[in-house]
Point group: C2
């Protein structure tokens, strides 16, 4: 990617009642956040919504208009509560039906091929018109990309495998490097000098993250930026500023 | 709460670059989801946004118009990147300044009282006009409630303590009971009969959650509802339907 060009932006939409009810602790958000940061796609926002048609259609249409890429997880299985694919089709105003390529993929996955394709499994071959398939090396049933929206499974192993296959096909940006300086003092003590430093390095992102350990409160100072030399310079300044407090 | 009245709804807004960059794995969403479910407040959506004024103002105003309660986490510490309180004030169109009650709370927390209140710490006494304080038994600096928006810290220990103090003050609903039936078969095998059952129990939420274990794919069937007798009835039917497959 060109020097000086801003990184592509992304949003994630996690779909599922089980996350909102507290039954399941999502791990896909954290996984995707790390993967996108590593390739220079800036994750700007995440939403978690229920298995609810209006919530899915509204969020997808809002997010795809504002970001380079949108990644979804959940709701593409074979059961009655898997309504993501149908509502992605609605969001794009296209039809959806069982598609030959998806059906063939499923066929290959089951031991008895076509004979194993009951109506539930065939639901997983329903793909919106114009979408391209995302490979599922774990359990066969594919995800799909339509426009800038990438629709993937919620089961973490499958989600992670789909992301691994998808990311190399997307335009990426400048990877962000970070450096962390750990200061054994509370945020309120480091804040004044930190604020001054953040002004001097306004081209970088400098964050402070309190932690609570056995010795009481401490602070992790984190510098992030796409120019490794500049990040190292700020890190050295942070160490100088806080080694004597 | 009255029988038959719908439960109050809620949204959560987690604020912080560190979650979106993958540096921190959020735990507050899962904690709040479990706490709200236990008291019958229905968490309908979650958003994670960056430490960005427009993102905070836009999300808060959108969510507070659509839900009974909104809970936020993050961005109320003493450093330059803690911009949540100021932007909540902007969202409500009210002014914000250091307030005597918040200042007194901080004063009591530090060993040397007023002498310890440097400008960074005083930032944590900035409270929007018309807000009421949320107690912070862990580290002193209060959260606050304004209208239906409850603004809390991002550090999990502090967030959890604030939620524990806040929840008993809110109108709650009918707690949701759930029952889980574990079936050692993939979703695509249980789907047809499950769909039929879900139609018969349309007053309940019946979800199916695939897992991948040592014996291959299995499915957890989860029934949720506010009437324990009805949940038990559906659970018994699920066991009957799936004990012979």
């Amino acid at each position: 990617m060109e020097q000086g060009k801003a990184n592509p932006t992304a949003a994630m939409l996690a779909i599922g009642d089980e996350i909102l009810s507290g039954r399941t602790r999502d791990s896909n958000i954290h996984h995707l956040a790390q993967q996108l940061t590593a390739v220079g796609i800036d994750l700007k926002e995440v939403r978690i919504v229920a298995d609810d048609p209006e919530a899915i259609v509204g969020s997808v249409n809002d997010l795809r208009a504002r970001h380079t890429q949108v990644f979804t997880s959940g709701g593409i299985g074979p059961t009655h509560d898997d309504i993501t694919a149908d509502n992605i089709a609605r969001a794009f105003g296209v039809s959806i039906d069982i598609r030959a390529d998806a059906r063939a993929t499923l066929c290959k996955h089951y031991p008895n091929g076509e004979a194993d394709l009951n109506p539930a499994r065939l639901r997983m071959a329903r793909i919106p018109d114009g979408a391209t398939l995302i490979d599922n090396p774990i359990s066969g049933a594919p995800g799909f990309s339509i426009g800038n929206v990438h629709v993937m499974a919620g089961v973490p192993k499958v989600f992670e495998a789909m992301v691994a296959g998808l990311l190399p096909t997307l335009e990426t940006g400048m990877a962000v490097t970070s450096a962390t300086v750990r200061v054994e003092r509370p945020e309120s003590v480091v804040a004044p000098a930190l604020g001054e430093l953040a002004k001097r390095y306004s081209d970088l992102s400098i964050g402070s993250y309190p932690y609570y350990g056995s010795g009481g409160y401490g602070t992790n100072l984190v510098v992030r930026g796409t120019d490794p030399a500049r990040v190292a310079e700020a890190e050295a300044d942070l160490i100088r500023a806080f080694c004597d407090i």
